[in-house]
Symmetry: C2
Subunit: 376 residues, 2 copies
């Protein structure tokens, strides 16, 4: 996949546009929502992502809980330009199981944060969401320990497809592996930040893995279906009292993963599988024809930037990460070059394709047509 670029003899890697799973958009449902959404997709596109799967949560709680709130979010983002394709999820709350059905057709998944539910009758309450949600679409669960086990039980009882997001500890990953072995229809992701930051780096940041858990995550990557961006980068910024901006963590993703490739801990094919092929298949997302070209030796900071990521806080800023996204093509058209947007208007659209779950993944290669070998 790595090729030597003749003009300047640096190593360029070509990847399909990645999927940003569990993308947090601050203030999604208020007046700041349109700008935050646009900014997030802009950061995402410039950072090598062609799809953002948006979290139905805000700092104020669940933002998308039914057809009405989903309609309101659509109205809000009408005032913005989407630079990537995107999809929304519906959040499960203690009282909205009966509102799920009408909302499900416009959402990619049901999103369940198990710790948002009262312990009393938690399992029975969430079971009504599993019963109401259509089998053809996945349930994404942010759940740990016995909550995770409860979600897996419900998935088993209701023959649901379940995707566990933001796994941060070894026991949870083992349980998921065990469930897979026993033929449960379960997949999972870990946040890229969780692979590179631990509680050892930030004592008290319980949302990060311990150093031991992080080691176990690395050692069992074969059980991990996807890497997500997730809420973790925003959560860390909040924990440290840093300013929160749109698209946190997104720009660090490719540089961090390519660093792991160059350290021999990942392959480029792992990145393609876990950030493109698998998320698209698992969430039933529409796949835009997109290609990104990354110079693995070039500093991200060397690019001009029209997006906020340059000014937004990152725990990796000081490390001056390499792995600059030099060019992004969508539908055979260069949309971002050297960090600058070269299109008249944003091309992103809502991309949900409700697919039946195939039993095997059909991996999409990064070179399948002339459009992807367009001259650089």
């Amino acid at each position: 996949v790595g090729t030597v670029d003749s003009q300047s003899s640096h190593t360029t890697i070509e990847l399909p546009g990645l999927v940003a799973l569990s993308t947090f958009v601050p203030h999604l449902d208020d007046t700041a929502g349109a700008d935050a959404f646009e900014e997030t997709t802009k950061v995402a596109l410039a950072s090598g992502f062609s799809f953002a799967s948006v979290l139905p949560y805000d700092f104020s709680g669940a933002t998308i809980t039914d057809a009405r709130s989903l309609g309101r979010i659509h109205e809000i983002i009408q005032d913005s330009s989407a630079y990537t394709d995107y999809s929304f999820s519906v959040a499960a709350t203690e009282s909205n199981s009966e509102m799920l059905q009408p909302a499900s057709s416009s959402a990619s998944s049901l999103f369940v944060r198990a710790d948002e539910f009262n312990d009393k009758d938690k399992v029975i309450n969430i079971s009504s969401h599993f019963a109401a949600w259509p089998e053809s679409k996945p349930i994404v669960a942010d759940a740990k320990k016995t909550d995770l086990a409860s979600m897996l039980l419900l998935a088993s009882l209701f023959n649901s497809r379940i995707h566990v997001t933001n796994v941060t500890n070894a026991g949870d990953l083992s349980l998921i592996a065990m469930a897979k072995e026993k033929q449960l229809d379960v997949t999972c992701d870990i946040s890229v930040y969780a692979l590179f930051l631990s509680q050892e780096d930030y004592p008290g940041a319980m949302f990060l893995p311990t150093k031991d858990d992080q080691k176990a995550l690395w050692e069992n990557l074969d059980q991990v279906d996807c890497f997500s961006v997730g809420f973790l980068p925003t959560q860390l910024a909040g924990f440290l009292g840093k300013p929160i901006s749109a698209g946190m963590g997104i720009a660090d993703t490719i540089p961090l993963l390519l660093q792991a490739v160059s350290d021999g801990k990942l392959t480029v094919q792992d990145i393609v599988a876990k950030m493109h092929d698998n998320p698209i298949e698992i969430l039933g997302l529409g796949d835009v024809d997109s290609v990104i070209e990354v110079d693995e030796d070039r500093r991200v900071a060397s690019l001009k930037s029209q997006v906020g990521s340059a000014s937004s806080w990152s725990p990796f800023q000081a490390k001056d990460l390499k792995g600059a996204v030099e060019r992004v093509l969508m539908n055979d058209q260069t949309v971002c070059l050297e960090g600058e947007f070269v299109i008249k208007e944003a091309l992103g659209k809502e991309g949900i394709i409700s697919v039946q779950h195939p039993s095997t993944l059909v991996p999409e290669t990064t070179n399948q047509g002339p459009s992807e070998t367009a001259p650089v």
Copy 2:
């Protein structure tokens, strides 16, 4: 089932000897153990029970955790007389999964108290017990809420037979009902005390059901496979600072249940099913040929008593319960008459029959042979 006794024209009900599920024996593993065990089985026999399934817990924690401790308990009770048949379970601890296999042949079940396990890696830890325990014998789980869901998940993943003991809330019973509907091999019991006492009677006694939960238990008795005696009576005594004695709650069982029959809330067949047929089938217990005769109108206090139950504390003492066990026959021989033991030696033996789990219950009727119609 009720017959009019010609001598005195009171209503006598004939039942098979009942099974005391989850029987707590105080100080089972120390010098007081032999006496406590003998006293417990004596109270049980005089109160209409022919089988005691003994809890592998003491106030000090788990008493039976491996073949060695099971052997020690057998040595301790050699110094006592067993008045009923009995069986032991092995307790699951955080470190004994590898010791289960050798102990399993002499035990009726594996007993898991989920709240004894550390939350960190609880599910994975307990999964090793499910993996190690032979499929032919049940796993008895004392687990609530998400812990219960975790146990049900493990039962599903390992094709285990699971019996949930001491259900006290509506949500847990609903979850069990849902699991049954989805073909999980799960059964459950509720403690008789939980049917008659609530947190409204004893504020702060969180181990009792709330009044609402108790109402739901009564309304869903068709989902309840067994009634147990359990630890609840001892727990209540401890909570109230009353003296703890052997066999707490046992003597109250038949009077309480017959009161419910006379109130139209239960049938005698419910008692036979939930305290004889089902426990025997579920735990694979040996069924001794036993018959008890109960006068439903006669006060328990009217019987002479050679056992401690007369002096032991009960929350129902003041109510002067009716439903005296007038006669107990074992193997066609009267062993207890009007509260007095009329046998030279105790007849109880260890009764475990490792049976394959039949898919349907074959109910044993209370009148199946001439031995059970022996003249009164």
